[in-house]
Symmetry: C2
Subunit: 375 residues, 2 copies
């Protein structure tokens, strides 16, 4: 156990009590829908210790890279969904991974990718299931539920014994500004996924899995009829983008970056700290929200928000803290050597800049939880 | 040796011939100023192999974290400048490091920090020198050359036998838009550093080192009289921010991220690839330049720019490539499985997302150079 004044800065802090509360919140939402299985997305946490908190008894997970899948497979997770369109060059590696787990899921959204995978199907020895990616909101990838190619892709996969169902991610829900937006995106995501599944079924194909998920839509879903699994990742930590979208409060954010004051520019009202973009990430996800939080909000060592302070700029190893209104700061309130905590814009991006979480309980570091990185 | 079609994507490629040309360019500039010693900043490369290319016979280096300093000290570099204001809590760790090298340099810009370090001076056994950070352009940290505290800080350090000189970094030069801007920032940086040194000397203090450096000002310096050392880092790789500032051409950029096409949204003219912000970083450094390059420009496998294509959006593991003018793209020109290379906005940030460089010579990967990370 170490005090927060004793560890090296910058450091990534994870508040255990907030992590547990965030996990409980989604479990509570899902408890109303027993047919919906939680398949948490480990792309945010990338940590075995966090995964074990999310799923104490084990269970299915979602990952964002094959290396991440391999890492979790090495540690006993044996039902893994790799939720990024499978590049053809990764098929062999996926087959090697499939040999080590009970079930591997992959996704795709084109006839080309389906044909390439169907040709390689024997190498997976029945342990692969493919979900067709559905575009529910114009965000990124996927086929629209009414795309004329949907059935064709489904047939190619079904013929090869690979068709598992459909998957969508309501990426546009991150742009929500209020509860109405959140509920609307949640409904859209569910409806579009179910519509795509129904189209496949109407075409005579089996569609067992209807997988949806994003943190905003998972937490604000009013109706999950027809859905079979829920993926979400950042809900474990929450962040300022989620707070700006109305998904959580700033005080729910479990991650922060501990830093130390290294100087001032008194005439400009700046406090300079030793956490720059290398520790915070370059993510400026709040830039387009109603309130731009710069590179993050400031808390004291106890995690209490200091009103009106914001990280206004970040260089590689320097962060510049100032009042949001540009007014003067009392340097003596933040002397050289004082420590502060910065709440991140985007938990996934900030966490990715660090090798481990310093787990904080009652204001002390009680454990170091390694993170995984790479492809 | 591997072809670029055989390695896993996403991957960070480093073109050896461009690296060497970039290194030669700065050496050529500095050859006119024999009193100026090159002290390359390793914050961009964070790689022993790159450092050895920059300094084949060894030599002084600059670093951005103490962990980086320790890493290079472990590998034989024994004259290291840590160029971020020293946090008081890092003094003991710096003293341990100083015991393992010939000379350790640190910087600071306040009486508080100078007093804390002076009190700890005996622990450094004469191997520490302190440079006073000078603010030459209002960018970030440092004392203005005419700051009334400059002499006071100098005296505290001199009395403790620690005063080495002055240092500045023309961070605002990154905002240059033409050669005139670049030359003006270079002159400002040199003049302000020399002015601060002269003020210390006029106050009866020795000021041996006058350290300046940023890639734009290093490459466009017209006059280095009175300067004793030059720090620069990103010049080794160059990037789109540097190209946008007129410092280099896009074809000089030695780093790129290799990716693979995983899908399309034909009606929107999008090509989706497996390099998102995790591989590219969230850096949007060209956003405020005359030409916004999104999350990067696109090259073919041979490294030739494909006109008018840009990464318009990035999610964690997805990049979206489109025509800059929003016009249609022929999907068949970029089939699923095709590979492309993305030039980075900011080399330091993009490289930081990877564990190693794949060194490319004549279109093939000839080596893997590890990167260092962390604090």
């Amino acid at each position: 156990m170490q005090g927060l004044d004793a560890i090296e800065t910058p450091a990534l802090l994870l508040e255990e009590i907030k992590l547990e509360a965030n996990l409980a919140r989604l479990r509570e939402v899902l408890s109303a829908w027993p047919q919906v299985e939680l398949r948490p997305h480990m792309k945010s946490a990338k940590s075995l210790a966090v995964a074990r908190r999310v799923l104490p008894a084990g269970g299915p997970i979602t990952v964002s890279t094959l290396a991440e899948a391999e890492y979790f497979a090495d540690h006993g997770f044996d039902d893994i969904l790799y939720a990024v369109g499978l590049a053809p060059s990764k098929i062999d590696r996926a087959a090697s991974l499939a040999a080590r787990v009970s079930r591997l899921g992959v996704i795709l959204d084109s006839r080309e990718a389906a044909a390439a995978l169907a040709a390689a199907a024997p190498g997976f020895e029945g342990r692969l299931r493919v979900l067709i990616e559905i575009d529910s909101d114009g965000h990124r990838s996927g086929l629209r539920p009414d795309d004329p190619h949907l059935l064709e892709v489904g047939e190619v996969l079904a013929e090869a014994g690979l068709l598992g169902g459909v998957l969508t991610h309501a990426g546009e829900s991150y742009g929500s500004r209020n509860f109405d937006d959140l509920k609307r995106f949640a409904r859209l995501e569910r409806d579009q996924a179910v519509l795509a599944a129904d189209r496949l079924r109407a075409g005579g194909l089996e569609c067992k899995t209807v997988s949806i998920g994003s943190t905003p839509t998972a937490l604000f879903a009013q109706d999950l009829a027809g859905v079979t699994e829920m993926r979400a990742g950042v809900y474990m930590f929450q962040d300022l983008v989620m707070a700006g979208a109305g998904v959580c409060r700033p005080e729910d954010i479990a991650l922060s970056v501990l830093c130390e004051v290294i100087g001032h520019q008194a005439d400009r009202g700046w406090v300079v700290v030793d956490a720059g973009w290398m520790a915070l990430s370059r993510d400026r996800g709040t830039q387009r929200q109603a309130v731009d939080q710069g590179y993050g909000l400031i808390c004291d060592m106890q995690g209490r928000l200091i009103d009106d302070l914001v990280v206004i700029n970040a260089n590689q190893e320097h962060g510049v803290i100032a009042r949001r209104d540009g007014g003067p700061l009392q340097s003596s309130d933040f002397p050289v050597g004082a420590r502060l905590r910065i709440l991140p814009n985007h938990a996934c991006a900030t966490a990715a800049q660090h090798k481990a979480y310093a787990l904080v309980r009652d204001g002390r570091v009680v454990d170091h939880w390694e993170r995984f990185a790479g492809w």
